[in-house]
């Protein structure tokens, strides 16, 4: 009886450790995961209007590398992207480590919420590039290659 209780406790602790470990290692998540389904209409060449009070130039560059056209007029695109770069968590010669959040709203409604922690600056992998590419995949129609006859 005592043994089974101690085993259950060990299993519980182990599962807690695994959960915490996977969060620390993974670090990225996307929401909203629940609530009303919001259909995202994928488009050929997605455009965004970027709002970011911190690291705006770096975020713009990463969005452009991912394939986005970044509009300068917020009325020119339905995609309103707010990027929040948090406090520096750690430093490497290539750049600091930040919590980064990408919130995409369409018509004032939040449709994509991506969060991740990682290194910015010239570091590879780069959290800004990873999130920009993730967002592009969610918004852009996949490119059709000419030789794809299947």
């Amino acid at each position: 009886m005592v043994e089974s209780a101690s085993m259950a406790r060990s299993l519980f602790l182990l599962s807690l450790l695994v959960a915490a470990g996977s969060f620390v290692l993974e670090g990225c998540r996307s929401t909203p995961e629940s609530g009303p389904e919001i259909a995202i209409v994928k488009v050929k060449n997605p455009t965004v209007f970027l709002v970011s009070a911190k690291e705006k130039d770096a975020v713009r560059a990463s969005l452009e590398r991912a394939g986005f056209k970044v509009e300068s007029d917020h009325l020119a695109t339905p995609h309103f992207l707010r990027v929040t770069v948090g406090l520096s968590q750690d430093f490497r010669p290539c750049g600091p480590k930040h919590n980064v959040r990408y919130e995409l709203a369409i018509g004032g409604q939040l449709v994509i919420d991506l969060r991740c922690i990682g290194y910015t600056g010239s570091c590879v992998p780069n959290v800004l590039d990873a999130l920009s590419e993730d967002l592009y995949e969610r918004l852009a129609l996949p490119a059709v290659s000419k030789g794809d006859g299947s």
């Binding site: 709002v51 009070a53 705006k56 007029d73 917020h74 009325l75 707010r82 929040t84 948090g86 004032g108």
Partner: protein
């Protein structure tokens, strides 16, 4: 008498935080200053998709921060005669009784060192700390009569330094933030005017 003096001293110490603000330099001075219309329009304003973040924790909501920005910018517009009056309404609850509807969106980020904030607090502000308020804001102006929309966006900042002995700089403490708000107000108005807004300033007949 003594009790009153003690209360007053305590109130002064608690409230009179020594600080100065220094305006950022993102927005250059405008070449041409916009002239006030002869018949200034009325405005209803609200806060839309706006977010406020402060390193170390914020004490007001994003909506409240947005309302403060709107108040400061529209105060400049009123002072310069660009608008006649402004009224706050809850998000998307415009009544259609003003000439224009204004919606603020964007982001305000207060960047600061938490370590310095703690050190400064522990030493009762003898060690200074600073907060850089970074604005990336957009205004959407809608002509109530024609339903035409105009957009403007600006990026600006100001830095707030807090330190006990800056209490003596109290009369000038808000100079930097006022300059930053005035620059933003002027640039937003100028952008809106250049896109055709406020041309027939009073549109409701």
């Amino acid at each position: 008498m003594k009790k009153g003096a003690l209360t007053l001293s305590l109130w002064l110490v608690l409230n009179a935080t020594g600080c100065v603000t220094v305006a950022g330099k993102q927005l250059p001075p405008l070449e041409a200053v916009a002239t006030a219309p002869t018949d200034a329009p009325s405005i209803q304003e609200t806060v839309g998709n706006f977010s406020f973040h402060l390193d170390g924790g914020k004490m007001i909501t994003s909506n409240k921060a947005g309302r403060i920005i709107n108040e400061e910018i529209l105060k400049v517009w009123k002072k310069k005669g660009y608008i006649e009056s402004s009224q706050y309404v809850k998000s998307s609850e415009f009544t259609g009784q003003a000439d224009y509807n204004v919606t603020l969106s964007g982001s305000l980020y207060g960047e600061s060192s938490i370590v310095m904030q703690i050190l400064s607090g522990l030493t009762l502000l003898v060690i200074p700390h600073s907060i850089e308020q970074k604005f990336d804001i957009q205004y959407t102006l809608e002509n109530v009569r024609t339903k035409e929309k105009y957009g403007a966006s600006v990026e600006e900042s100001y830095t707030q330094w807090s330190e006990f002995f800056l209490i003596f700089a109290l009369p000038w403490s808000g100079k930097g933030s006022s300059a930053a708000y005035e620059a933003m107000a002027d640039h937003i108005y100028s952008q809106l005017r250049s896109k055709g807004a406020f041309e027939n300033s009073r549109t409701m007949q």
